[in-house]
């Protein structure tokens, strides 16, 4: 590295400085307190300090002003020229630029990245800023100590080493520079690789790297990731198992329920089977009974036929017997008739005419009698017909009466139906009225809600207006408050204390002064006392001046006399307090635009009042915001309520809400409840009316039906009656009377004929008494014979009739028997019997109620089973949601992945622990084997140190980490603390120069050799001049002659620097290059 240019602005005591460095030895000189060390610090800070570090505070100009700025241009290798500019303090900036020609720069890094890049370029063993273990202040390292020395600790290099470097880059750089003489290349490569692997996992302080990008972080992230996934899946599986458990329970319940259903179904089946068996058995029994009855009936017909046949046969016998009896009786009659003829023949000569006459008369009477009988029969027939017609008339009247009764019943039912319908209609109307009332009530409620919502909307508008007003007032207050700049009220207390102290201090100065000026020649005197200015006085007389605290007497062109009261200490105290007053109080007074603390207090009070008012306003605003927020839905509520009211009114259709208002008012305190009650009551009434109407309708229908039937009967009766009446055009009573009269006349005629006949008969009898007496025997015999014939005939007729009757019956029975199929009936009977035999006999009698109960139980069990099935379906659905076995599989995979990640994390940890152990062991071995930097660098320092000290010291012993063990004197190592300060400074300087030489980099020496004698300084001057051709050396000194010859100094004039020795030596006069504050 080589510095080109340094520019410093507002940096500690330096207002600005602009220095251009030469390539070799640069001697920057100037008097004490000029800022040389500050410039050295500026170089250090430009290279190492992050621009936002608080470490810069000690470089902020004491007198205030702008933030410190350092800009430095340097070159790391040919055509790689860098310019870093840092404006320090919080909020500052940093910029790193690169150039090939030193003129045209390109931005490389900005802000925080600037320091990372710089440290990378320097490779001084300082890690990038940030991260755990990073330095918060000015970072340091062994190379920083060596190459950027400080005047305050010249020999620090002897107490430092690479051991304390936070990063290995310094060692690597030195090792690279010293590689030719340092470690075995293989070992270096191994060490570098091991270090690299170790650094992947651990910080420079040995802590595990846990930041993003570290191996542990990656493994931990992976582990956390898979752990999270595992836990998520575990939860899923837990949920799944819970669902599965539920599913199992449900399945078990389904099984139980299924069993219950099966049992119930089985029981129901058994009961139904028993019931069916009982029914089937009953039916079969009935079938058997019917078939048996049929067979018995047919058999009975056969028996009847047989019996009838036997009867016919008996009757046939009886008829033959009666025929024989008749033949016998006829034979007897013939004999008796023969006897009678003989008797009559005997009688005939005596009375044939009389008998003829009697016969004629008797025949005449017989004819009359036949006519009377005929008339009587006809009359009786007339009477019967009239009575039949009268019966039909009566039947028609009865039918009419019945019809009228049914008609009356139908009319009554119709009236009742009409009444019931009317009642139903009334209830319907009332219900519709209730509907209307409810809708009206809804509309009313919606109107009320709309009114409330409207009120809310109005209130919202009012509140918003009020909010706007309050905001305006608050802004006004805030505006007023913004114009007042006052400190916290608590700050007034120390201000008052300071005021008091200041007053006391000033009081201590207010001792009263009396000064007498006695001129010896006339002089012009201007007097200032106690801060006031008096006019100039030209006088030659003594002049007395009286003041409280101070008097300035300006004797023009002669002297200025200042007299101040009080002791020096008191004055300092007062000055200090005044300074504090100016610093701590005066700005506040000026800001508050007041002149004293009372005014400031008033302003503070005013500000507090305003703050309080603003807070009150804020609270009010918050309250208003809250109220407005609570009314945010009012517009929507208004809209909804209006819509609702509109819908309700639309539902009312033609009903005017006003007409319902009175009725609604009459509903009492709880209209919805009253309407609900009324609706319930009306619903009950309506149901009742409907039931009544239904019953009455049924009755009406029945009555109508009965009326129609009676009407048909009446019509039939009327037709029959009219037909009957048509046969009696004179009317039934007339016909009946005539018939009864005819019957009576016929009866009288019959009686008269009977009497005449009886009279004639008695006459004939008397006449014929004798004949009869004669004939009586014959006739009696004949009569007996006739009677016998009649009896025989009657018997025969009876037999024949009976025989014919029985024959007809037999014939009918035979036909009936022939019509019947006994074999089929018997087969049917057999089949029925067989079926009956096959029909199972139920074990027990089952009641219908029992079957019904079983059905109910079965249905209930099925219902429960269906419910469980639905629950199972739902649970299945839930199981699909939570994953089931898939989730378990994924969990198994996740557990596997988690275990793998755990193993990998352990592996990584063990791996990197092994790398760390290897690195430690290599370092220890390295140290032990002394293949170290100290061995490489030590001789170079030792040779020069020997030369410098003229072999007073034999060697310098350095550790592997370049720590200085001591110097070898007489074969013994002596700690450097035991050599003189000057020699220690020289040894330190040699160390720095040697290191810079190996690294081919700039070394800054800030007055390092102040304790050296001239001889050694000459030696160093020669060494520096020689080394200036190899690397850049920057020396800050207040004694330039120690480093420069007189001719190399910057000549008087404006030149800032002067180059000599072929431009390898540059003298820089900081008195010209630097402007102090």
């Amino acid at each position: 590295m080589r510095l080109h240019r340094l520019r410093v602005v507002d940096f500690a005591a330096i207002r600005d400085a602009n220095i251009e460095f030469g390539p070799g030895l640069n001697v920057l000189y100037g008097p004490n307190d000029l800022g040389k060390s500050t410039l050295a610090d500026a170089i250090r800070l430009a290279l190492l300090l992050p621009h936002t570090s608080t470490h810069i505070e000690e470089y902020v100009p004491w007198t205030g002003g702008r933030d410190p700025v350092v800009e430095m241009t340097f070159e790391t290798e040919p055509q790689r020229i860098w310019r870093v500019r840092k404006e320090f303090r919080k909020g500052g900036t940093a910029l790193l630029q690169e150039s090939k020609n030193g003129v045209d720069f390109d931005d490389v890094e900005r802000a925080r990245k600037v320091d990372g890049k710089l440290r990378d370029l320097l490779s001084w063993g300082i890690p990038e800023p940030g991260g755990a273990g990073g330095s918060k202040g000015l970072p340091t390292s062994f190379l920083a100590t060596v190459l950027l020395s400080t005047q305050s600790d010249v020999t620090s290099v002897l107490n430092d080493s690479l051991q304390g470097d936070p990063s290995g880059t310094g060692r690597e750089r030195i090792a690279a520079a010293l590689s030719a003489v340092a470690q075995d290349p293989l070992f270096v490569a191994l060490l570098r690789a091991t270090q690299s692997r170790r650094d992947e996992a651990y910080t420079d302080r040995g802590a595990k790297k846990t930041a993003k990008g570290s191996v542990f972080k990656a493994a931990a992230d992976r582990l956390n990731e898979v752990r999270d996934e595992k836990e998520t899946l575990q939860k899923l599986v837990d949920d799944s198992e819970s669902v599965e458990r539920m599913l199992r329970e449900l399945t078990a319940r389904r099984g139980q329920c299924g069993e219950a259903v099966a049992m119930a179904a089985e029981r129901l089946g058994t009961l139904e089977r028993l019931a069916l068996e009982a029914v089937a058995l009953a039916e079969a029994t009935e079938q058997v009974r019917l078939a048996q009855a049929e067979v018995t009936r047919i058999q009975r017909i056969g028996s009847d036929v047989d019996a009838a046949a036997r009867n016919v046969e008996d009757l046939s016998g009886k008829a033959e017997q009666a025929e024989q009896t008749l033949k016998l009786a006829e034979g007897l009659q013939t004999e008796a008739a023969t006897v009678l003829e003989a008797a009559e023949e005997a009688v005939r000569p005596a009375g044939s005419d009389a008998a003829m006459t009697d016969t004629v008369a008797r025949q005449r009477l017989e004819l009359r009698k036949a006519a009377a009988d005929h008339a009587s029969r006809e009359a009786q027939q007339q009477i019967d017909g009239a009575m039949g017609a009268q019966t039909l008339v009566d039947a028609a009247a009865t039918a009419e009466r019945e019809h009228r009764a049914h008609q009356a019943e139908a009319d009554g039912a119709r009236v009742m139906l009409s009444t019931a319908t009317a009642k139903q209609q009334v209830v319907d109307d009332q219900l519709r009225r209730v509907d209307a009332l409810e809708r009206a009530l809804d509309a009313q409620v919606a109107d009320e809600q709309a009114a409330v919502a409207q009120a809310d909307v109005d209130r919202d508008a009012v509140l918003r207006a009020r909010l706007a007003a309050e905001i305006g007032e608050r802004e006004a207050l805030a505006g007023r408050r913004a114009t007042i700049t006052v400190p916290e009220s608590a700050a007034l207390v120390p201000m008052r204390r300071l005021d008091t102290d200041l007053a006391a201090a000033r009081g201590a100065l207010n001792v009263g002064l009396f000064v007498t000026v006695t001129p010896r020649v006339p002089v012009d005197i201007r007097v200032h006392k106690d801060g006031t200015t008096a006019d100039s006085v030209s006088t030659a007389k003594p002049m007395d001046i009286e003041a409280n605290t101070e008097v300035d007497v300006d004797i023009v062109n002669v002297a200025t006399v200042r007299v101040r009261g009080g002791r020096r200490e008191a004055q300092r105290t007062a000055e200090s307090l005044e300074e504090r007053w100016n610093r701590e109080v005066a700005p506040h007074l000026a800001a508050a635009n007041v002149s004293d603390l009372e005014g400031l207090s008033a302003r503070v009070a005013e500000a507090q009042g305003l703050d309080l008012n603003i807070k009150t306003k804020d609270a009010e605003l918050e309250s208003l915001h809250g109220e407005i927020a609570s009314l945010a839905d009012s517009a929507r509520a208004l809209l909804e309520a209006s819509d609702r009211a509109r819908v309700c009114r639309a539902a009312l259709r033609d009903t005017q809400p006003d007409t319902l208002a009175a009725e609604l008012t009459g509903l009492g305190a709880d209209p919805p409840g009253a309407l609900r009650k009324r609706r319930q009551q009306l619903s009950g009434d309506l149901e009742m009316a409907r039931a009544t109407a239904s019953q009455v309708g049924t009755a009406h229908t029945l009555a109508e039906e009965r009326g129609r039937n009676s009407r048909s009967a009446l019509d039939a009766a009327v037709v029959a009656r009219d037909a009957a009446l048509a046969m009696f055009p004179q009317g039934i009573p007339t016909t009946l009377s005539a018939a009864q009269a005819a019957l009576s006349a016929a009866s009288n005629e019959q009686e008269m004929i009977a009497a005449e006949l009886a009279s004639m008969e008695s006459a004939i009898a008397a006449e014929n008494a004798r004949i009869d007496a004669a004939l009586r025997g014959a006739r009696a015999t004949l009569e007996q014979a006739r009677a016998g014939v009649d009896v025989a005939q009657a018997e025969r007729t009876k037999s024949i009739a009976e025989h014919a009757l029985q024959l007809g019956r037999l014939d009918a029975l035979q036909r009936q028997r022939d019509a019947e199929d006994l074999a089929t009936a018997e087969n049917r009977f057999r089949d029925a019997a067989e079926r009956h035999a096959t029909v199972p006999v139920p074990e027990r009698v089952v009641a219908e109620a029992e079957v019904q109960t079983a059905r109910t139980v079965t249905a209930r069990a099925k219902l429960e089973l269906e419910g469980i099935e639905r629950e199972i379906q739902r649970t299945h659905g839930a199981l699909e949601q939570v994953g089931g076995a898939v989730a378990r599989e994924r969990l198994r995979d996740a557990i596997e992945a988690f275990e793998l990640a755990e193993r990998q994390e352990r592996e990584i940890e063990a791996d990197y622990e092994a790398w760390r152990l290897l690195l430690d062991q290599m370092k220890e071995a390295d140290a032990a084997q002394a293949s170290n930097l100290g061995q490489a660098l030590g001789p170079a320092i030792a040779v020069r140190f020997e030369a410098l000290t003229q072999r007073r010291y034999e060697s310098v012993r350095l550790t592997a980490q370049l720590g200085t063990e001591g110097v070898v004197v007489a074969g013994a190592v002596r700690p450097t603390e035991r050599i003189s300060v000057g020699t220690r400074e020289q040894l330190s300087t040699l160390y720095r120069l040697s290191m810079a030489e190996y690294l081919r980099t700039t070394v800054v020496l800030d007055d390092q050799l102040v304790q050296s004698d001239d001889t050694r300084m000459d030696w160093f001057r020669a060494l520096l001049t020689e080394k200036a051709r190899q690397f850049q050396i920057v020396v800050f000194t207040c004694r330039p002659s120690d480093y420069l010859s007189a001719s190399a100094m910057v000549p008087k004039g404006k030149a800032i620097h002067k180059d000599t020795d072929g431009e390898f030596v540059r003298a820089i006069d900081l008195g010209r290059a630097l402007r102090p504050r």
């Binding site: 075995d184 091991t194 599913l247 089931g884 076995a885 092994a914 290897l918 062991q921 290599m922």
Partner: protein, 240 residues
């Protein structure tokens, strides 16, 4: 199922495809249950079911084959019958179709447990290794030199950023891969003294270790060193 039953006289060939489970595997999830005789009930001639990955004919004795053709590629090590498609020859309705499993998988999933370095070496000889997903269980104790070879073989199988692995995919279980404690004379004699000293120090740590973890750490450090040396020698064109 919404599929209507086959009508009488309908002789068309009917094929069903459905996702679900026929409950023929114990413990398998019961989502989307399917009757074993669903094919018969629905008048199908062939019913293909998608759910599990292995080929299975669950109704070999039925007139209607109900088949899980499985996934055309296995997706895990425990899917022995996966990687097939079902070749189905359908003749006419009522005649049982002929169903054959045809392997079509590109990948083979193998689980290998290696108990010594020779078994591990034989893995490299597996035919068509690039079509295999290999899960390697290293169940062996090796020296640091052998461990280096183990790593090399694993690297060969797995591939690097620059080279393809010989195996299609590789999972390595090193849970039971143990290192023999100590350098065991595997390091060359011509190492720089400082390296020899490092090895000696690690050997001493192993010998003096009070617990196995410390011993294992030191052994692993030796293995790291051995691999570093191998790399260095490789860079130098020499064999370690």
């Amino acid at each position: 199922m919404a599929l209507p039953a086959r009508e009488l006289g309908d002789t068309r060939v009917r094929i069903g495809c459905v996702h679900g489970c026929t409950f023929d595997m114990d413990g398998y999830q019961t989502n989307f249950p399917i009757c074993r005789d669903a094919g018969i009930q629905r008048g199908l001639d062939y019913l293909a079911i998608g759910d599990t990955h292995s080929f299975r004919d669950v109704t070999e004795t039925s007139s209607v084959p109900t088949v899980y053709p499985g996934a055309p590629e296995p997706t895990n090590f425990d899917e022995p019958g996966a990687g097939c498609v079902a070749l189905v020859a359908l003749f006419r309705h009522g005649l049982r179709p002929r169903v054959e499993a045809e392997s079509v998988a590109f990948w083979r999933w193998i689980d290998r447990r290696c108990r010594d370095i020779n078994e591990l070496r034989t893995v490299l000889t597996t035919q068509d290794l690039d079509r295999h997903v290999v899960r390697l269980h290293l169940d062996m104790t090796v020296s640091v030199a052998e461990e280096s070879e183990v790593e090399r073989i694993v690297r060969d199988l797995q591939g690097t950023d620059a080279t393809h692995g010989r195996a299609g995919a590789l999972l390595v279980d090193r849970t039971n891969l143990r290192l023999q404690p100590g350098s065991g004379g595997v390091f060359p004699d011509d190492l720089p003294p400082v390296v020899k000293d490092t090895i000696a120090r690690l050997d001493r740590l192993i010998a003096d270790a009070s617990d196995e973890a410390e011993k294992a750490r030191a052994t692993r450090a030796l293995a790291h060193l051995y691999k570093l040396l191998q790399n260095q020698e490789a860079l130098a064109g020499r064999a370690l």
